[in-house]
Amino acid sequence: MQQQGAQVSMPNDREVEVTRTFRAPRTLVYEAYTKPELVQQWLLGPPGWTMPVCEMDVRVGGRFRWRWRSEEDGKEFGFEGEYLDVQPATLLRNTESFDSGDIGGSMGEKPAMVTVRFHERNGTTTLTTLIEYASKQDRDAAVSTGMTDGMESSYKLLDDVLAERPVQRKPI
């Protein structure tokens, strides 16, 4: 079966949804998504970043803490939150707050709400991640993250948004 790349859509002003299919059963995808020692192997973002902190207490009321470090300059940032709903191999729902660490930037004061769904069909798992931000501004800041580098941009528009609101790379 031909594998499709990640698809991004914006169901409304405050949400962004990312869908991706994996050639593996959902129990395995869930395992790779919830075991810290496995998450650390893939949730790294762009080249040059490592994930020194990956703590995940995957149960309702449990918390997670993710932190990345730039190998180049040692700068760090992270995400953390609380699990609100945990249905193994089916659904995860958690809050997510951005900790700008040394890199600055903001994705709003209020945490985002993240819902991850695992759906298996014929041995293939579709992973759907819906992120609901507190405001449209927060969502746009999160989606714009990372546009500061790695992209030779000729857009003057981009300079404008960076001047208005410094944003940084979000590696997921």
């Binding site: 790349g5 990640a6 991706r20």
Partner: protein, 116 residues
Amino acid sequence: MKLNEQLDATFFALSDPTRRAILGRLAEGEASVSELAAPFRMSQPAISKHLKVLERAGLVSVGQDGQRRPRRLETEPLAAATEWIEHYREVWETNFQRLDELLEELQTRDHAREDG
């Protein structure tokens, strides 16, 4: 216009089927307001209203050709909107490709266990 405002204007302009159809028509070449109105069973003022939205978003420009004022498609805002999402998508895809590899390793591990 700031990027956020530009993107808002672009996405708002694209949220209406008539406006998307107008852009589709202009992709084939410039056209006057009456030419644009013809296939839509809409009054020219109604079409003009849609055109205003498209012009504000920078998706349509107005030319000058003697008495005619043909409308033209401007693609730059579309490229900006596409790139904005595409960059975000690529960050996810980079992670997911690593996850592909990890899942393959895990499946090999599981099969080895079953065989052993």
